[in-house]
C-alpha cells in the first residue's frame, strides 16, 4: 500500500508535470528553511496557482479593532504573507471542459484540503479556498493524474484559455473552437516566450461574433472562428480588458488561418514581452501597449516578429489529429414527450435548456448560486453526467456548469436527478443568475462584500421572479468587490463594484452602480458609472431601476438603449433616493456589510497579490482620477462640455493628490492645497517632468487651476479631457520612476 500520493500516482501523471510538482515541493522546503528569497518564492507559487487570501498578512478587523492573528513565526511565503495563513488554489480548466472523473477528484480535494466547496470563477477556473501551502503538492499531483494542471493559473503569464461553453453545439458558430483552445493552451503552457510578461495575459475563443459567449472583446487576445473560402481561421483581436480602465480589443487580423494562429500569437507574446511595461504594474497589460503604439504599429511589429521566429512543428501538428474535447453522446437523440412533465420542469426548461445544433439534443445549464457547489453535489453531478451526457460538461464564465448532448427525451429525468441534489435551480442566464467575484469573503483587495450582496439579491429576486415581467428577468447583474472588475461589472445591464464612504468618522460599504453594459457581441461595449449607493440600499435601488425600465421602455427596447435614451442624469435621479446613508445611531445596519456581523472597515485591506502585484496607495487613489476622466469622456459624448471640462480638471487634481499623498498623507482635498503641494514637491523639483515633454503635462493642471476658462465650448472641453488623460499617464510614470528609485536593488 502506498504511503504517499507521489508514490501512489507515480506513472499516472505526465512526467514533465510530475517533475514540476516535485520541484515546487522542493522550493516549499527551501523557503521553509529560508534558503529562497520571499519575492522569488511568491512568484514561483503564484505561477502554480497558489494564491494569497484575505488576512494572510496576519491582521484582521474583528468588528472592534484590527487584531493580530497569532500565527507561529515561520518564514513568509511572500512579502507580508504569513506561512500558515490559508490561501486559495486556482485550478485551470481550459475552455471549461471537465470530465466526471475530474469532478470527482476535485470533490475529494475540496474535502481533504479545503472547505468542501468548489467555486467556479468568471474565467471558467475552479478555486478552492482556505488551503494550506504544504498540502498543495499532493493536491497538484492528484489533479495531474487526471490531466489537470495548475501551472500558470496565476502569475504574469498566460492564464486559463477560455471559450464559449456552447462551442461545438451552437447553432450559429462557424466551427467548434474547443480543439483549438486546447491546442493553444498546450502550446503556450510553460512556453519560453510567455515567461517574461509584465502582467497576466488572458486569451479567449468564440464561435460567433454577435453572441456573448466568448467575451473576446474584453480579453488580452481573442479568437473568433471564421470560415473563408472553405478555409478555417480566426478573426484575432488584441488589447481588450476591464480593470479600472476598460478597453475594447482591437482587430489584429480579420482572418488568420488555423495553420497560422499559433505562430501569430507567439509573435504577439514576444512583442508584448519585449515592449510591454514591466515596472508600472498598473500600465502593464497588453491593452496599454496596444493603445500606446496604435493597432497599425502593433500589427506591423507582430508581422515583423513573426518573420524572425524559428519554425516549430507544433504550429500545425495538432491539425492532423485535433485534440479530443468532448465524449460521444451516450444516449440517442430523441424528441421530448410533452406529456406528464414533472412539477417545476417547464420553468426550468424555459430558462436553463437550449436546443443544440445537433437535432434532438439540448444543453442544460446547472445554475450554481454564486458559482458554488458542494463536494457531494459534484459527485452527484459526475454520476448524472455519466448517465445522460458522457464527458460533456463545461464550466461557464457565468459561473455555472452546462451539460451538453442531453437527449431531449431525457430532459425530465435529468431535471429530477438534478433536483434531488439541489442543482435544478431555474433562472440560468436571468436576473437571479448573478455573477460575482470573491470580494471581501476571501480576496485581499475586496472592499465590499460582492458575494454577500449577490446572495441577498439572488434570494430577493428569486422569491418574486415568477411575478417579474420578462423585461426584468432577462437582465444581467454582475458584481465586483472592488474596481478590479473580476466580476465583469462593465458587461452587465446592472453592474456594481465595491467602494466605501466615510460618514462621521465611520465607514459604510457602498457599491458604484454601472449601467448599460453589453454582454452580447462578445462584450461589445461597457457600462457607465452612475454613482455610489450604500450596500444595504442596493436591493431597493435595483427594484427601482428595474421597475422604471419595465414601465418606461418602448416596445422591445433593451436596457442598454433605455439607459442611453434616458440619459445619465435621469437614470441617476432614479437611484438618488437610495444614496443617502442614515447616521450610525439611526440605523447601524448600514455600517455592516452583507453576510457579515462586524462593523465595516477597510482598515484590514491587504496588499493585492494578483500576479504578484503590489497595489500601492497611489494605485488605489489614482483610480478615482481615472474614473473621473472616464466620466468626463462620457459627459463630452453626451454634449455636456461644462461638466466634461470640470470633471477633467478634477481628474487631474485627483491624480496630483494621489502623488502628493505618497509623501504627505494629510494633504486636504482643497484644490488650492493640492496644487500648491503638487507644484512644490513634483513640478518645481522637476520630478514630474517627462524625459521628452518636460513640464508640459504638469503645466496642464497649473494653467487650468490658475486660469479657469470663462466659457467652455466643445473644443475646449475636448482638449481638457485629452490633457487629463495625459496628466494621469504622467502621474503614473512619475510614480513608477520614484518607486523604482527607492526600491532595493533586485
Amino acid at each position: 500500500m502506498s504511503t504517499s500520493w507521489k508514490q501512489e500516482l507515480a506513472g499516472r501523471m505526465d512526467a514533465a508535470w510530475a517533475d514540476e510538482i516535485d520541484l515546487f515541493e522542493g522550493q516549499i522546503g527551501l523557503r521553509r528553511q529560508g534558503k529562497l528569497e520571499d519575492r522569488i518564492f511568491a512568484e514561483t507559487r503564484l505561477r502554480r496557482g497558489v494564491y494569497g487570501q484575505r488576512y494572510d498578512n496576519g491582521k484582521r478587523a474583528d468588528g472592534i479593532a484590527v487584531r493580530a492573528l497569532p500565527y507561529e513565526a515561520k518564514p513568509t511565503k511572500g512579502p507580508d504573507t504569513l506561512w500558515d495563513a490559508p490561501g486559495m488554489q486556482r485550478i485551470k480548466i481550459p475552455y471549461g471542459g471537465v470530465s466526471s472523473e475530474q469532478l470527482e477528484v476535485l470533490a475529494a480535494l475540496s474535502e481533504e484540503y479545503s472547505d468542501s466547496i468548489l467555486h467556479i470563477t468568471t474565467r471558467q477556473d475552479v478555486q478552492l479556498h482556505f488551503v494550506h501551502i504544504e498540502d498543495t503538492p499532493d493536491l497538484m499531483r492528484r489533479l495531474a493524474a487526471v490531466g489537470i494542471t495548475t501551472r500558470e493559473a496565476c502569475g504574469n503569464s498566460v492564464r486559463n484559455v477560455t471559450a464559449c461553453p456552447l462551442a461545438g453545439v451552437c447553432k450559429t458558430e462557424a466551427f467548434d473552437v474547443s480543439p483549438y483552445a486546447s491546442a493553444l493552451m498546450h502550446f503556450l503552457l510553460g512556453h519560453p516566450d510567455v515567461q517574461d510578461f509584465g502582467r497576466k495575459f488572458k486569451p479567449a475563443f468564440s464561435g460567433c461574433e454577435h453572441e456573448a459567449c466568448g467575451l473576446v472583446q474584453m480579453h488580452d487576445a481573442g479568437f473568433v472562428s471564421r470560415v473563408v473560402d472553405g478555409v478555417r481561421g480566426f478573426k484575432v483581436v488584441v488589447g481588450g480588458g476591464l480593470g479600472t480602465v476598460p478597453h475594447q480589443a482591437e482587430v489584429l487580423s480579420e482572418f488568420t488561418p488555423v495553420e497560422e494562429f499559433l505562430p501569430q500569437i507567439q509573435a504577439v507574446a514576444r512583442v508584448f514581452a519585449r515592449l510591454g511595461e514591466k515596472r508600472n504594474r498598473g500600465r502593464a497589460r497588453i491593452k496599454f501597449l496596444v493603445a500606446k503604439l496604435g493597432i497599425e504599429e502593433f500589427r506591423r511589429l507582430v508581422a515583423e516578429e513573426r518573420k524572425t521566429i524559428p519554425y516549430d512543428s507544433r504550429w500545425t501538428d495538432f491539425l492532423d489529429d485535433l485534440p479530443r474535447t468532448g465524449g460521444e453522446a451516450p444516449r440517442p437523440a430523441q424528441a421530448l414527450d410533452a406529456g406528464n412533465l414533472p412539477e417545476g420542469f417547464p420553468a426550468w426548461c424555459a430558462s436553463n435548456v437550449m436546443a443544440q445544433r445537433q437535432e434532438g439534443y439540448a444543453v442544460a445549464t446547472v445554475n450554481l448560486p454564486l458559482g458554488d457547489l458542494t463536494a457531494d453535489q459534484a459527485r452527484a453531478l459526475a454520476d448524472i453526467a455519466r448517465r445522460f451526457v458522457g464527458e460533456n460538461l463545461r464550466t461557464t464564465v457565468e459561473q455555472n456548469i452546462v451539460l451538453r448532448f442531453v437527449s431531449e427525451s431525457d430532459l425530465p429525468a435529468l431535471y429530477q436527478a438534478l433536483r434531488r441534489v439541489g442543482l435544478a435551480a431555474p433562472g440560468a442566464g436571468t436576473i437571479v443568475d448573478i455573477t460575482t467575484c470573491p470580494g471581501t469573503d476571501t480576496c485581499k483587495l475586496g472592499i465590499a462584500s460582492s458575494r454577500g450582496l449577490a446572495a441577498q439579491l439572488r434570494k430577493r429576486l428569486g422569491e418574486k421572479s415568477a411575478a417579474l415581467p420578462e423585461a426584468i428577468t432577462g437582465l444581467k447583474i454582475k458584481i465586483s468587490g472592488c474596481f478590479n472588475s473580476c466580476g465583469q461589472h462593465h458587461l452587465a445591464d446592472i453592474g456594481f463594484y465595491g467602494n466605501s464612504r466615510k460618514i462621521d468618522k465611520r465607514t459604510a460599504p457602498h457599491f458604484q452602480v454601472i449601467l448599460g453594459g453589453q454582454w452580447t457581441h462578445n462584450a461589445g461595449s461597457y457600462g457607465l458609472a452612475m454613482g455610489s449607493v450604500p450596500s444595504k440600499a442596493i436591493p431597493e435601488a435595483v427594484d427601482a431601476l428595474t421597475e422604471a425600465y419595465a414601465q418606461g421602455r418602448e416596445k422591445s427596447e433593451s436596457f442598454q438603449d433605455w439607459t442611453r435614451r434616458m440619459g445619465k442624469r435621469n437614470v441617476r435621479e432614479i437611484i438618488k433616493p437610495f444614496m443617502a446613508v442614515p447616521r450610525y445611531d439611526e440605523d447601524p445596519s448600514f455600517y455592516v456589510d452583507w453576510s457579515d456581523a462586524r462593523d465595516f472597515t477597510v482598515g484590514d485591506l491587504g496588499v493585492g497579490e494578483c500576479a504578484g502585484e503590489v497595489v500601492s496607495l497611489f494605485g488605489i487613489e489614482v483610480v478615482k482620477a481615472e474614473s473621473q476622466a472616464f466620466d468626463a469622456q462620457v459627459a463630452l459624448e453626451e454634449g455636456e462640455p461644462d461638466a466634461a471640462e470640470d470633471l477633467a480638471y478634477r481628474a487631474m487634481l485627483s491624480a496630483a493628490r494621489a502623488l502628493v499623498r505618497t509623501e504627505f498623507i494629510d494633504v486636504t482635498e482643497e484644490p488650492a492645497d493640492i496644487v500648491k503641494e503638487f507644484k512644490a514637491r513634483f513640478f518645481d523639483t522637476e520630478r514630474f517632468f517627462d524625459k521628452y515633454a518636460g513640464g508640459k503635462f504638469g503645466q496642464y493642471l497649473l494653467a487650468r487651476h490658475t486660469e479657469p476658462p470663462a466659457r467652455v465650448d466643445g473644443g475646449e472641453a475636448s482638449r481638457r479631457v485629452e490633457e487629463s488623460l495625459l496628466f494621469i499617464e504622467a502621474a503614473h510614470s512619475c510614480e513608477a520612476r520614484i518607486s523604482a528609485a527607492v526600491a532595493p536593488a533586485a
Binding site: S2, T3, S4, W5, E8, R54, Y55, R60, D62, G63, I64, A65, L69, P70, Y71, D84, A85, P86, E104, A107, A108, E111, E112, Y113, D115, S116, I117, H129, F130, H132, D135, P369, L370, D372, L373, T374, D376, Q377, R379, V421, G422, D441, T442, R451, G452, A455, R458, K459, S595, D596, A597, R598
Partner: protein, 310 residues
C-alpha cells in the same frame, strides 16, 4: 493510519431534518472570534448559506473548522481537525470531541443561535482517500482505533456502524450511537482538559477593550502610555502591575492628574470597574483611553502566574 483530516458531527435536537435558518450564525461566529470563545486560533467566518445542503456557515480556524453543516439535509455541528502533528489518533479524536462539545455549549448559551444538540449520536469522518479509504477493511481498522475512546465515554455502552454507505469516492464515516443519553457537561468532564468557560477569554466589556497580550506588547515595545489602576489601596498592595493608583471612587475628582491627550490603559481586578473608568475618561474627552479586558486576573492567568491571585 492517520488521515489528512478528521471530522465529527453532532446533530441538532430534537429533529436534525427540520429546516434551520443558519444566517444568525454569521453573527454568532463573529462574536466567538471577538470573544475568543473557543480554543485555538480562529480566523474568519464564511457564509455558504446559499448552497443547498452545504456547510452552511463556517467558522474557519487555524487547526479546527466549525460549521453549522446541512449535508444530506441533516443539520449539525461539523467540527473538522485540519492538522494534528504526531498525536495518536485516539488522542486526536478525544480532543476533537472535546472541542466540539465546548462549541456546542457555547452555541447553546447563545440566544441568537437558538439551537440545541443531541450528544448521544455522533458521526466521525476520515477525510483521506489514501490513508483511510472507504472500504470494509478501512472501517474495521477505524473501529479498532476509536471504539475504546467511545466505550470509555459512554458508560452505558455504544454501537459503532459504517455510515454514508460504501461509495469509495466518499470519505470513510463511522456512526456512534450511545445506548444512554449523557449530557455535554458530563462528557466534557470525562474527556478532561480545560472546560469551555475557563478557557474562553472574558466577554467584551467596552468598545475600547484591549487584551492582556496587547498590554504586554505595549510594555515590551517600550510604548509611551500611562497605566492606571482603579482598584483600592489594599488590593494594590496584594498585587499590582506598577500602574498609577487612582481608585475609581476618586477618579472624578482626580481626573485632572491625567493628560487627556495621553494614551491611557486602565485596569482593575476583573475589568468591571475599569470599564466604568474608561467610559468616564472617554466622556471627559480622553480619546485614547482603553480598558484591560479581564483585569489583572486575566494578566495573572495568561501572562504572569507568579503574581498573587485574589
Amino acid at each position: 493510519m492517520t488521515p489528512q483530516r478528521i471530522a465529527v458531527k453532532f446533530f441538532v435536537s430534537p429533529d436534525p431534518g427540520a429546516a434551520v435558518d443558519v444566517e444568525p450564525f454569521i453573527g454568532v461566529f463573529h462574536r466567538f472570534i471577538q470573544q475568543g470563545a473557543l480554543e485555538g486560533l480562529l480566523l474568519d467566518v464564511a457564509d455558504y448559506a446559499h448552497v443547498p445542503e452545504g456547510p452552511g456557515v463556517l467558522l474557519v480556524g487555524h487547526d479546527v473548522d466549525y460549521a453549522i453543516d446541512q449535508t444530506a439535509g441533516r443539520t449539525g455541528l461539523l467540527t473538522t481537525r485540519k492538522r494534528f502533528g504526531d498525536l495518536p489518533l485516539s488522542e486526536v479524536v478525544r480532543d476533537l470531541l472535546r472541542k466540539s462539545l465546548i462549541a456546542i455549549q457555547a452555541i447553546e448559551q447563545d440566544e441568537k443561535a437558538n439551537l440545541r444538540f443531541a450528544t448521544d449520536v455522533v458521526t466521525i469522518q476520515y477525510l483521506d482517500r489514501l490513508a483511510t479509504p472507504n472500504t470494509a477493511d478501512g472501517f474495521e481498522a477505524a473501529r479498532r482505533d476509536i471504539a475504546p475512546v467511545f466505550e470509555k465515554l459512554f458508560d452505558g455502552g455504544c454501537e459503532l456502524s459504517r455510515a454514508h454507505g460504501d461509495d469509495p469516492r466518499k470519505p470513510l464515516s463511522v456512526s456512534v450511537t450511545a445506548k444512554e443519553v449523557v449530557a455535554a457537561d458530563a462528557l466534557l468532564q470525562k474527556l478532561g482538559g480545560p472546560a469551555a468557560r475557563t478557557v474562553a477569554r472574558a466577554p467584551v466589556q467596552t468598545d475600547w477593550d484591549i487584551e492582556v497580550d496587547d498590554l504586554k506588547a505595549l510594555r515590551d515595545g517600550g510604548s509611551d502610555f500611562v497605566l492606571v489602576d482603579v482598584r483600592e489601596t489594599g488590593e494594590y498592595e496584594t498585587c499590582n502591575l506598577g500602574g498609577q493608583l487612582i481608585p475609581l471612587s476618586s477618579l472624578p475628582a482626580r481626573i485632572g492628574e491625567l493628560d487627556s491627550g495621553a494614551h491611557v490603559v486602565v485596569h482593575c481586578r476583573t475589568g468591571a470597574r475599569s470599564s466604568r473608568a474608561v467610559k468616564l475618561l472617554r466622556e471627559a474627552g480622553f480619546e485614547n483611553a482603553w480598558n484591560l479586558r479581564g483585569g489583572i486576573l486575566a494578566w495573572i492567568d495568561r501572562i504572569d502566574p507568579t503574581l498573587t491571585r485574589y
